[in-house]
Point group: D2
Chain length 404, copies 4
Amino acid sequence: MDFQMSPKGQDFLKRVKAFMKEEVYPIEEAYYRELHSLDNRWVVLPIIRELKQKAKAQGLWNMFLPEEEHGGAGLSNADYAVIAEETGRVFFAPELFNCNAPDTGNMEVLVKYGSEEQKKQWLEPLLAGEIRSAFCMTEPDVASSDATNMKATATIEGDEVVLNGRKWWSTGIGHPDCKVLIFMGLTNPEAHRHQQHSMVLVPKDTPGVKVERMLRVFGDYDEPAGHGEVSFTNVRLPKSAIIKGPGKGFEIAQGRLGPGRVHHCMRAIGAAERVLEQLIQRALSREAFGRPLAKLGGNPDIIANARMSIEQARLLTLKTAWLLDTKGILGALSEVSQIKAVVPSMLCTIVDQAIQIHGGGGVSDDFPLASAYGYARSLRLADGPDEVHRALVAKLELNKHRKR
Amino acid sequence: MDFQMSPKGQDFLKRVKAFMKEEVYPIEEAYYRELHSLDNRWVVLPIIRELKQKAKAQGLWNMFLPEEEHGGAGLSNADYAVIAEETGRVFFAPELFNCNAPDTGNMEVLVKYGSEEQKKQWLEPLLAGEIRSAFCMTEPDVASSDATNMKATATIEGDEVVLNGRKWWSTGIGHPDCKVLIFMGLTNPEAHRHQQHSMVLVPKDTPGVKVERMLRVFGDYDEPAGHGEVSFTNVRLPKSAIIKGPGKGFEIAQGRLGPGRVHHCMRAIGAAERVLEQLIQRALSREAFGRPLAKLGGNPDIIANARMSIEQARLLTLKTAWLLDTKGILGALSEVSQIKAVVPSMLCTIVDQAIQIHGGGGVSDDFPLASAYGYARSLRLADGPDEVHRALVAKLELNKHRKR
Amino acid sequence: MDFQMSPKGQDFLKRVKAFMKEEVYPIEEAYYRELHSLDNRWVVLPIIRELKQKAKAQGLWNMFLPEEEHGGAGLSNADYAVIAEETGRVFFAPELFNCNAPDTGNMEVLVKYGSEEQKKQWLEPLLAGEIRSAFCMTEPDVASSDATNMKATATIEGDEVVLNGRKWWSTGIGHPDCKVLIFMGLTNPEAHRHQQHSMVLVPKDTPGVKVERMLRVFGDYDEPAGHGEVSFTNVRLPKSAIIKGPGKGFEIAQGRLGPGRVHHCMRAIGAAERVLEQLIQRALSREAFGRPLAKLGGNPDIIANARMSIEQARLLTLKTAWLLDTKGILGALSEVSQIKAVVPSMLCTIVDQAIQIHGGGGVSDDFPLASAYGYARSLRLADGPDEVHRALVAKLELNKHRKR
Amino acid sequence: MDFQMSPKGQDFLKRVKAFMKEEVYPIEEAYYRELHSLDNRWVVLPIIRELKQKAKAQGLWNMFLPEEEHGGAGLSNADYAVIAEETGRVFFAPELFNCNAPDTGNMEVLVKYGSEEQKKQWLEPLLAGEIRSAFCMTEPDVASSDATNMKATATIEGDEVVLNGRKWWSTGIGHPDCKVLIFMGLTNPEAHRHQQHSMVLVPKDTPGVKVERMLRVFGDYDEPAGHGEVSFTNVRLPKSAIIKGPGKGFEIAQGRLGPGRVHHCMRAIGAAERVLEQLIQRALSREAFGRPLAKLGGNPDIIANARMSIEQARLLTLKTAWLLDTKGILGALSEVSQIKAVVPSMLCTIVDQAIQIHGGGGVSDDFPLASAYGYARSLRLADGPDEVHRALVAKLELNKHRKR
């Protein structure tokens, strides 16, 4: 057993930490102050473009992508996971390294399943960080926790595929650089239930694509990326826009989700560590009844429980990454769902306790906690609600016993 | 034992319910739509003034106030509690009946402790619903959970009292009708620790009073009442502005808080019932995996637990109100803290579960849940955080055994 | 609203408290010491018979029974509930007042549904405290949480009813005075699902009745009453042994369970109060790290939470009793299940925390906590597991919305 | 990163699993039946001695001990941890491999700190499995969670050390082969607080040593090892009986506890896996309301949560073992306390849920669950209660921030 990163991973981690320390933390507060002072926040501030160039120049770029031949860093999932945690400590940091959702997942899809033409057109500028993308799957009118509820259609008509339907929670669609969407829709309702859907690459400016509105999460638009509701009305594209061919949507979704969930969870763990630091610093710096809050009543237990739940969640996520590395997605099905059920909920709890320790300040904008709560809370729903993941874990558990 | 309201209380409840059904629910959605469409939301929409007139005309006015000689409805705390629950189902409803915080608490203070002059100047227009008020106690720079940390001063200089300091979470201070603040500050640091502070009536336009900014709660300003941060710089007032005289601040605060906490808690229980209705309606109307969410997995348990925790919290709050009626605040010290620790936390849990059942919609603005969460979450801090109330309950419990 | 007992109830309570103080607490420890010193603990110690006589002489007898014409005390369910709490503070106390399960439920069944002959033969000696009884419903071979799983049969053959099957958790069957069992079995599988079963009065010495073994609960036999597994093999009785006639089993069970569950819950609340006293006394008397345990870390929160959960559970149970008094069982269906889901679980939590505060002593026989835990834990299963009660509460909640 | 055991560890694990499958599970039920049929259960059944010989012959012996020169297996803590989990699946299995507490900890102490003479006299027969030992630290009269409360004395008088005091929870002292105790007592109250105590090797038959009684845990004596209360009255031994010299007690305790806690926790994880299997098998085999319990209501969530909490607890414990291997006890202080706070509590929860799914059977002796609960519950107190471990974790966490 060895709980350390590889030497290569350690080297990357060291450099990412240095970058965070020298370039990111020092500008964090100013970044938000400037962004929030704007009437239109759907913009990329110059500092972001500048830091992206710096990170790229240092080779801290596309670290999420194992494949070196595509410009990836050649890191294992397990090694990258630790780096993802580090970048998760600042909400806007992953983008600086071209490692932010949903672009990472979309790039992976193109690497694995894209045609040469699709790669040339979309993967290259995405890998270069020149454009951004969105993923359009969840629908407002049905319980999307059950993917078979999906109503949007991707109908084949001759040489074309025609998209209709309404999607929401398309994260990143508000970004000024967002140029392409991956749309998932029903192509053949007669086929086997996992072969009915297709994924289609849709240039954002295609006629019939309309961003109806941007959605707030607990009061935040999360500009400049944001989350949109998008309507698709007779959107016509050549069949070559379909990824891997009609009916392959579920197969691709499956492959996309393993590493993506590890990344989400590790970033959430980074956020949890950051929030725990804030909790402790506040608890050490405020006094009531003659003692620092950190020593008062149940507060030490809160701190200890936070430490213990972060440690456990991290180890489970690292092991899941290692399973993806060594056994592939089919060897990590239960674990991928386990971390998705465990980590966001753990983060919610810790943010909530940090809010409580901050008193009234905790629910205000004076601290990043209320907005961290919005992020944490929505993670319990994004990519499948906790309930769906627990149900899968239970099912796989029962299967072990049925086989016997 | 009798768990029913008095006939008089039942009559009021019946009429309040009718008012809610006929006047309030039907305009709720339109009210928010209109308010949210405004650039400046710090206004009272005409429908609010109209409904206030209607409620007043029907005698559904100042029901929180037991004293009929002051225009109160002559209801016991226990009877009014049930009515407060009803008004708590819509966030802006309490104001329609002139029964909203912090005006209710401020009016009580004036009824009990105000001079004739103070009553004439401030109590009468408050009772008439012509002006609004705020309460300035919590401070940004100290852990206000320990009231003895308070730093703001109310210094006696000759015939004047001079106020200095900074307060925040002054709810209602953004309201266009807000004309008067009750300020609590340190007058005599040498006195017994419960006789050091004074409460002072401060016209909002007094020189030296400055609303520095309005605070957001989980992204909401809660316009038009809002929560402000207010600085007091050499604010000079005649000594007659002090309520009941110098050093009486804690005595007044004590008397103010009993009924106020019952009101807060009963409104929160009304909110919890409303949210549970929304949870159930969503759970009945959405399907996944072939069944309505209401029947899926642990959801029935969530519904049952919500019902059981609401019922229990309500009974505890009603009993507390009854103790205030029959034994006064000193006979209900533990219970007043018990409900403050139990009810907001219960509401948080139910809102959170309603969010989960609403999926992505739950964290957005499409449902009133994210904003209900902000309200619920801040109630766990307002008027003393949970921790302080639990500590008091524990202390009183230990005292029982020490006496033996 | 009035949270006080009636004057009559108060008088009874005062006298029961005095009896507990003067007669019961002083002999509690010696009682157990003597009982545990015996090789055969399935005996009634003389002190018990003596105290029963004293209680009876003072009119503190059959207080659970509202009907005065049958020797009941004429107390409402709500009044008796408070008395049941008092008796629940000592495990063997209810029997002293002839108010112990399952005899109370069995007496109620006979009062409401028994023939004159059945009353004469069994009700009279039970009311006199001369004999004891058991109730045989749960079966070892099926999930008895679903009553329709029941396999035991009560077949009508001519003028006789013939019983076959196996029951367990027949509480009280080990008592030397136990003379009669109420057996529930399937009579007519063709009938409507709530008219298939019959309840039959079975003298314990009827041929074919065999107590196969006594069951331990977390290591305790709960002598001398105990819990038995009983086989019924071609047990033949005249049809007149059937209560209210064939097929009435469910109807009777329904009527039996309302007050019975209130009694169980109130006794459990009495036990919770007692355990909380023990917790606090230990926490005040032991020191670690220079402070009494009562002041250390999260312990004050534990004490406060215990107080708050007991108060809430008690109020819910009292309201349920009041609903039974004023609206009958059909007006209290949800509440009866609510208390059954809430109270035993609350007691488990408090006992568990008392164990923790007692350290190693808590799990040993030196304190009554491990055995209280066994009692509390089994209450979460007896009379329907928590899950079944929550499911009913949820179902009734959903029904409210479907009707609209 | 690598989550696999070393090849050597894998080989041992494979062989231990085979031994468990072929030799242990098949006799488990019969072993308990036979033991429980005895009047005197304080005996070693022949099957145990036989299996010990078999295990020893296969080299599955003293695997807990890294040092090969002392007859250990040369396994790292991390490798042995996985094996300890396996042996934890059957309560009496660890002894078969000479890997049971408290002998393992006592042997480690002797390996690390014992004199040659002490090793010859006690370590050799312990390593050979010929004798058993006990550890006497906790005291009945003080809160032993604070070790400085300890009252027992080990006074130096000339060439002798004289022991006085009373200890309890001396596990293993009832075993017929128990020949030696390690006693910890106060030697020099004037010294630095961590240099006041000594550990002394006490032959069980030394005059003045008296096993006052054996203690039950939730009704079980855990024969034949058991837990005793022991008085020491002027027990005189030569100074050479002191381990490492006077005042070294805390230093030794510190070194003893790291691996010991890993072993405890891994065995508890093995128990949790076993109980989860029993839970699932019952849940699949019983039906209610037309479905197996495994699919009903919140039961799948219970199964998923159990899986997720076991996985996380295991990884944390393995990482702790790896830290002990790579950084020593001082590099794992927080983690050792973390696992001690996390694992027993996790086991309690899973056993409790298994009990609930087993219905009435769960609290009886028909399943090993009530007794597993007693074991799990007492682990939350043994070797420091949860509270003490959480307090240490919190303290170390706060220290990180103070240093900055």
